[in-house]
Structure formats: structure tokens, C-alpha cells
């Protein structure tokens, strides 16, 4: 089965429907599937539930899908950088479920690994724990969180091959590997599609079984907080 598609638009054909759940990799604007997000907007799909650590900025990343009101609900850990998000949330147009970041990462990992629920001490005694099953292990209290799966996962990697094997680069890895594993269909966009055999099998981060479609993208890689130091004059 051929996994390589020509572009983001063709890769999304036949897998998009209104009301679907989409996982989108990335942390801030780092390692986000920017080509697939833009193409998803262009499909006009609506009432999306989007699982993503953040919500992009107003005019980039998931902010594009907020501008067009294609998102019904977000599951995220931090959404601070997006004014349009704030407006839609405060006016009641957008539902929001906050998950602690580690809980969100583990929910995606668990979903992809066939684990429907797990216990964590994160959030015990807080609003997050309300309504959740509590259980003691060795005298300490934990709460139950559930695994997450998505109808579609869109992820960004550095390099991939025709089998869908992926390698991520530096901190652009973040949520991408778990989300790749938790999609009923996973589409990866990469900076470079390399010939089979050129990735070191011992160093593949996401094995191709988790990736159904792959495209080569063009990446702007916008920086949110450009922070530099000055060189001291010699």
C-alpha cells in the first residue's frame, strides 16, 4: 500500500468528516503540522474536537481553524497565546477541556497503546479530580484518567520514508509520537522523504505501523519567543 501522497490536500481525501476528533502534534508553534492544518481548513470540515497541547496563535497553526470557526471543542493544557480563542471561549462559542500537560501526553500514549484508563496523582485535590474515580495505592491517592484516540492524527516529523518510519528533530518531537500512535488514521508531514534504508533502524522514533499517509511539506517554522543573547566583544 502506497503511503506517500503528493500534498496535504490529497492526503486528507476520504478521511475527513464533520464532527470528527483530530489530534494535532506540536508544542506552541514548535513541531506543528502546519501544512496539514492549513489543508484541513481548506476542506471546510466543521464541528471538530481538536486535541492539542496548545491552540496556535491568531494567524498560524490551529489559530487558522479557529478563525473559520471549524473547531467546536479543544482539549489542551495551555491556550494563552491566542486572542481569537479567548473571544470564542468567553462568548460560549467554543468548548474547552483543560488537561494537565503530562496527563494529556499520557492519555494519548495510553489511547495508542490500547489502554483505556490509568491512575495518576497529578491533579488530586484539585478541580481536575472532580467526578473522577479515586483509588489508593500504597497509601497514596490517585485519580483515573482515560486514554484518548482520534479519528485523525496529524503530526510533523523531520524525516520519514515510504514505510512511514519517522524521525523527529530536537524539541519538535513533543506530542507527535504519542499522537501518531493514537490516530485511527495518522498523516505525517515531513521536511524530507528519504530513500528506504537511509534511516538507521535503531534510531527510528515512530515506527511506520503508526503512519498511514505521509507527505513532504514546506515549513515556515514560526518562532513564538525569539530570545537571544549578545556576543561579548573580544
Amino acid at each position: 500500500m502506497k503511503k506517500i501522497f503528493n500534498d496535504a490536500k490529497s492526503a486528507l481525501e476520504g478521511v475527513v468528516f464533520d464532527g470528527m476528533t483530530v489530534m494535532s502534534g506540536g508544542f506552541g508553534l514548535c513541531g506543528i503540522p502546519e501544512n496539514l492544518i492549513a489543508a484541513l481548513r481548506d476542506t471546510g470540515v466543521k464541528d471538530l474536537t481538536v486535541i492539542s497541547n496548545n491552540a496556535g496563535v491568531d494567524d498560524f497553526g490551529l489559530g487558522l481553524l479557529l478563525q473559520t470557526r471549524q473547531i467546536k471543542k479543544m482539549i489542551s493544557s495551555y491556550v494563552g497565546e491566542n486572542k481569537e480563542f479567548e473571544r470564542q471561549y468567553l462568548s460560549g462559542e467554543l468548548e474547552l477541556e483543560f488537561n494537565p500537560q503530562g496527563t494529556l501526553a499520557e492519555r494519548c500514549r495510553a489511547g495508542g497503546a490500547g489502554i483505556p484508563g490509568f491512575f495518576t496523582k497529578t491533579g488530586v485535590g484539585t478541580l481536575i479530580a472532580e467526578g473522577k474515580e479515586h483509588k489508593e495505592f500504597d497509601g497514596e491517592t490517585y485519580i483515573m484518567e482515560t486514554g484518548l484516540v482520534a479519528d485523525l492524527s496529524i503530526v510533523k516529523a523531520w524525516k520519514g520514508d515510504e514505510q512511514g518510519n519517522l524521525i523527529f528533530r530536537k524539541t519538535a518531537r513533543n506530542f507527535n509520537p504519542m499522537m501518531a500512535s493514537a490516530g485511527k488514521v495518522t498523516i505525517a508531514e515531513v521536511e524530507e522523504i528519504v530513500p528506504l534504508g537511509s534511516l538507521d533502524p535503531d534510531n527510528i522514533h515512530t515506527p511506520g505501523i503508526f503512519v498511514q499517509r505521509i507527505i513532504k511539506g514546506e515549513h515556515e517554522k514560526r518562532i513564538e519567543q525569539r530570545t537571544v543573547r549578545e556576543r561579548e566583544n573580544a
Binding site: R173, F175, M178, T227
Partner: protein, 212 residues
């Protein structure tokens, strides 16, 4: 007269020990990295998936694939490793990180911490804070002693929604240092320069034992 941001960061850096893996929060905690003693070896963790965080880059080193949890561009070191968010929070939740230094809106005398939401205001989210305070071995809060309006932030009970229950081990403010015992009980252990116990008492709601 009292400590400034850099004094508080310098004091917080003294909580680090040789061989520690440390997570620093945003704001004053970020400054702590500037004051780590040269004689000890400390590895900084960034919860977006990096151990061995280096300083900010020079202009020509900026890499969009290399950021910290505050989304700032940073650099790697020779010891650096990268991993997924699931592995990162495995380290945190699993108790492998020795020390977390972070800011707060309120701390209660039993160690309860509130730093993620104010009801009625736009909530940005807890990010990784709930995982950090629940999982890291030792939690040190660095914050101003009172709010901008002068209201105490060290309280009998937090009024804001909690980030963690009974999780804080130490609080460093511009007025001094407090230790919180396992199970509760706050103790003032150090005073900032030219600050008296009465100064501290007048701007603190929480009960505390004086041990300076």
C-alpha cells in the same frame, strides 16, 4: 531592604545540590539558572522534551526546533537528550526530577499551592504545573510576599483553585524563606536583609513558627 528578583533567584539556587535534575518555571525561577554554583553539576529539564538545557542562543544559532517550555529559543549542551512529552512527564510524575522551582499566586500553611486560575478571568491553563508539583521530589515556590495590591499570598487556606494539595516544601519571598513540613506547618527560617519578624507578620495571613 527586602530582596529583589535577583536576590530571590540567588537564594533559590542554594537549594540545588550536586547531581540534581531540576525543572525551572517561568519568570523569577528562570533567573535561578544564572546563580547555580560553579562547584556543583546540575542538569536542567524542560518539560517539552529536553534534559540538559543550555543558555539562550546567539542570533546566528537560533533554531525553531529548539525551544524551552516558555517557548523561548534556547541551546543544547554536550549532555543534552531529547524525548517525547510522554517520556518527559514520565520523568516528572515518576519522581526522577529532584527539584522544581516555580511561581505562585497563593500558598497555604499546609503546603497547598494555587498558581493556575482566577475564577472569572480568562484561564490560560495549567500547562505542566499540576504534573510538576505532584511528581517532583521537592517543590520550591519563589514569589513576591504580597500581591500587587498588598494582599497576603501566604494564607491559612488558598482562596483560588488549587494546582496541588500539600505539595510545597519551601517558599522564598522578597521578605524571607519559609519551610513547610510534611503534613503542614510553616516555619520562617530566614529573613531578607533589613526585614524584621514583625514586617513579615504584618504582611502574612498564614500561621508560622519563627526559627530565624
Amino acid at each position: 531592604m527586602a530582596w529583589d528578583r535577583n536576590d530571590m533567584a540567588r537564594r533559590a539556587a542554594k537549594e540545588m545540590e550536586d547531581g540534581f535534575y531540576v525543572n525551572l518555571g517561568i519568570g523569577i525561577p528562570t533567573l535561578v539558572a544564572n546563580y547555580i554554583d560553579d562547584d556543583i553539576d546540575v542538569t536542567l529539564q524542560s518539560e517539552n522534551g529536553m534534559l540538559g538545557m543550555g543558555p539562550f542562543p546567539f542570533e546566528d544559532e537560533v533554531d525553531p526546533d529548539l525551544i524551552n517550555a516558555g517557548k523561548q529559543t534556547i541551546t543544547e549542551l554536550r549532555r543534552t537528550s531529547y524525548f517525547s512529552s510522554a517520556d518527559s512527564f514520565g520523568m516528572i510524575r515518576g519522581g526522577h526530577i529532584d527539584l522544581s522551582i516555580l511561581g505562585a499566586m497563593e500558598v497555604a500553611e499546609n503546603g497547598d499551592l494555587a498558581n493556575w486560575m482566577i475564577p472569572g478571568k480568562m484561564v490560560k491553563g495549567m500547562g505542566g504545573a499540576m504534573d510538576l508539583v505532584a511528581g517532583v521530589k521537592r517543590v520550591v515556590v519563589v514569589m513576591d510576599h504580597t500581591s500587587k495590591s498588598g494582599a497576603p499570598k501566604l494564607l491559612h487556606e488558598c482562596s483560588l483553585p488549587l494546582t496541588g494539595k500539600g505539595v510545597v516544601d519551601m517558599v522564598i519571598t522578597n521578605l524571607g524563606v519559609f519551610e513547610i513540613a510534611e503534613g503542614g506547618g510553616m516555619k520562617l527560617t530566614e529573613l531578607a536583609d533589613d526585614v524584621s519578624v514583625d514586617d513579615v507578620k504584618s504582611s502574612t495571613e498564614a500561621n508560622f513558627e519563627v526559627a530565624v
